[in-house]
Amino acid sequence: MSALREGLKEFTRYPSAIAGLVIIAALVALALYTVIAIPYREGMRLWRGGEEIWIENPRNARPGWVNFFSRARLPKTVVVSSEEGAAQRKRVRPLPGGLRAVDISLAFNYPYDAFPSEINLFLKASFKERRSYVSLFWLTPDGRRVSLGERSLRAYERYSISLDRRLAQKLGRVPPEIALFAGKDAVAETSPPLRGRYELRLEGLFFEEESNLEAKLVVYGQVHGLAGTDHRRRDLMVALLWGTPVALAFGFLAAVGSSLTTLFIAAVGVWFGRWVDALIQRITEVNAILPVLPILVMIGIFYSRSLWVMLGAIIALSVFSLGIKLYRAIFLQVKESPYIEAARAYGAGNFRIIFRYMIPRVIPVLIPQFVILIPSFVFLEAGLAVLGLGDPVLPTWGKVVNDAYANGALYKGYYYWVLAPSTLLMLTGAGFALVGFALDRVFNPRLRTL
């Protein structure tokens, strides 16, 4: 054990190893933070809860930090609701004949240099028999007033202003989210939007006592949060954060499961020798013929894509991996050493010798390999996800990359969508590899003498 401690002391002298440790520590901290700050249930709700959870997020928005790098300020999402700060925004006055007039003014400031990506108006009306009636107007900073039509309201209505073809036609065949924000004589699309105070005014009539109306205007921006959003408006941050504990746990468990069992089986084979050894050798050779990735793909397509089923399959396939041959060579030497004979002389049992005397001797060789194995399993999981065989429930980095690929992120220029998960994958790979290769140089006796 003192050799181990000395090795660790030497290990800290490699700057690359320290860098690797820092990366790993940061990832572990991120994973812990995620699990505590966004508990599993909450994470699942945010990622798979249904459209109402992310309806106010823009589609395919870039991460917020792109604004630091570009001169033009990209818009954030603006939400104006008559339910909050209602006093100024909604006014109801009685009219003769039992009618009531309602005025809702949804005003907001728009200081950005680019057009919004979408505009939606959500209307919630209550009535018994006669629907309320409302006219919509758009007021621009330079004092123009554009009519957005009139409608009689159902209980719940979503008016997608940016998808209104008739409105686009009226505005000169320009998409409404651009035309409504463009200056007066601007050649739209090339010139920047008009900055200033915009207002959406609803002027309506209530025909009943109980009638009411709430309106919420969402002007979707082009940036969102720290990670942006995907094609379904989901905040990518959720997937990136939750991908961290999933990836680390998967890599670690797979590495433990495969390397420790392999080690144990190699030791058993060498210690008992004869037919046990021969059998293990033959199984290893058969196992070498089986193609691992295709089998995992088969399991994913035929049976289950669950991460834990995949984990089990990976461990099962790598128990008799070719690593056994390497450990076997080392154990064959260890078996002949005098201290094993001494252990046998004092009457130690088979498994006591295997666990207490043989396996510990190989640990220094095992540790670097173990550390290097972890990212390879993380990438294996990501690779399966890229093939479309990611876990159906858990958000993982690989699944984000797959979503991005399936939706043509690279063709359409949504680079953030690919870059963020890849960077995290790369950090994981680099962190463990830096530590692993440094450990290899420390613990591998043949390399140390060089």
């Binding site: 690359s16 690797g20 033959r282 050779e285 058969v286 196992n287 070498a288 013929i289 089986l290 193609p291 990735l293 295709p294 089998i295 793909v297 088969m298 397509i301 035929f302 049976y303 290097i372 990212p375 390879s376 990438f379 990501a382 690779g383 890229v386 093939l387 990359v401 690929y405 690279l410 063709y411 220029g413 680079y415 690919v418 870059l419 890849s422 994958l425 790369m426 790979g429 680099a430 463990f432 590899a433 830096l434 692993g436 290769f437 043949r446 390399l447 003498t449 060089l450």
Partner: protein
């Protein structure tokens, strides 16, 4: 005497390797059919197909329901017979095994080659060149470049280049497909210099030089991805390996004798390390067979990896098994040839003696 011993050893080795192949292929067959579970999926598919085919057939739609039922059942039965689904799976699995081992790969159930053939052989042969041209080029470059670079670095052990390569080794923690995504992002998406994927332009150029040029343009990114993903670790491993061998006593003696470094390298370092180099080369070659499912998917490359992926997606067991059995044979034959080669190249290996085997 010696000849007899060698012969006996080779026969024992060949038989044991063949048994390994038999067991491995049988397990692959069981897995590819999920122990018979795939049959149920296929039966359900047949039922659905026959149902919709009958629905679409005008002349059948007018039949009375009982009659229609009979026609449907008949067609289902016929289709199940065609695929052999009417016999128990265990029996069929041994038929599959026999066919697979005798390399009569049979006919694919759903996939066809681009020319329209259902022969598994034709389908595989059609995809083979795509995989060979990509992975053959890349793997050969990695192999020879790594060995040459490693020899060079082991001479300049501890120098700047040596340390630079060691510093770059952790890049190999990420697989080639991962770098592929980055390369596509930079060179295809951002700079628009190279194509996103595929093997040639669409439509393929008519003239041979234009075709070759297009192929080369499509090859650059995937080959670069493979190189980034594996060359540094390969150099590092070979370098360590050569360093260990060049610290042997006989190399010191040769140096003391004043032999030129080229001669030392050839005679005292490369010669004893030849067997592992040959082994590594052989395994590089047979690993070509399986292609690489994920890399080919990322680059939309029409090779064997994509084929296998498609076959699995369509539950096309004959293609899956065909691909596995060829790999198994290649592996077994390679190991066998290496056994012989070791005996020829390495005088220390005495065949058929002692308890252990050399490989």
């Amino acid at each position: 005497m010696t000849l007899l011993r060698i012969l006996r050893y080779l026969i024992v080795r060949a038989v044991s390797l063949f048994l390994t192949v038999v067991v491995g292929v049988y397990i692959a067959i069981l897995i590819a059919n999920m122990g018979g579970y795939v049959d149920q999926i296929r039966k359900a598919q047949i039922r659905e197909q026959v149902g919709s085919a009958v629905q679409a057939d005008r002349s059948l739609r007018l039949l009375p329901p009982a009659e229609l039922r009979r026609v449907i059942d008949q067609r289902i039965e016929l289709e199940e017979q065609r695929l052999g689904l009417d016999r128990p799976f265990i029996l069929r699995s041994f038929n599959y095994l026999g066919d697979a081992l005798s390399l009569s790969l049979g006919r694919a159930e759903r996939l066809t080659s681009d020319k329209g053939s259902r022969q598994v052989r034709a389908i595989i042969l059609e995809r083979l060149p795509a995989t060979l041209v990509l992975f053959g080029t890349a793997d050969l470059i990695v192999f020879f470049a790594a060995i040459l670079a490693a020899l060079f670095l082991s001479r300049r052990y501890g120098g700047f280049l040596d340390r630079a390569v060691i510093a770059l080794v952790p890049t190999s923690a990420a697989p080639a497909w991962f770098y592929g995504i980055f390369l596509i992002l930079i060179f295809a998406s951002l700079l628009r210099l190279l194509p996103f994927g595929g093997m040639v332009d669409v439509p393929p150029p008519e003239s041979a030089p234009a075709y070759a040029l297009s192929l080369v343009r499509h090859l650059i990114l995937p080959i670069a991805a493979i190189l980034i993903g594996s060359i540094f670790i390969a150099i590092y491993n070979w370098r360590t390996f050569f360093l260990i061998y060049s610290s042997e006593d006989y190399v010191e003696v040769a140096k003391a004798k004043g032999l030129p470094s080229g001669a030392i390298e050839r005679r005292y370092i490369l010669r004893p390390t030849l067997p592992p180099i040959i082994t590594s080369f052989a395994f590089t070659l047979i690993s070509l067979w399986s292609g690489a499912i994920i890399l080919e998917t990322v680059f939309n490359w029409p090779g064997l990896g994509r084929l296998l992926f498609q076959a699995i997606g369509l539950f096309d067991t004959p293609v899956i098994v065909g691909s596995v059995v060829i790999y198994a044979y290649l592996l077994a034959v390679t190991v066998f040839l290496l056994d012989i080669l070791y005996a020829l190249v390495d005088p220390r290996v005495k065949v058929g003696e002692g308890r252990g085997k050399s490989v």
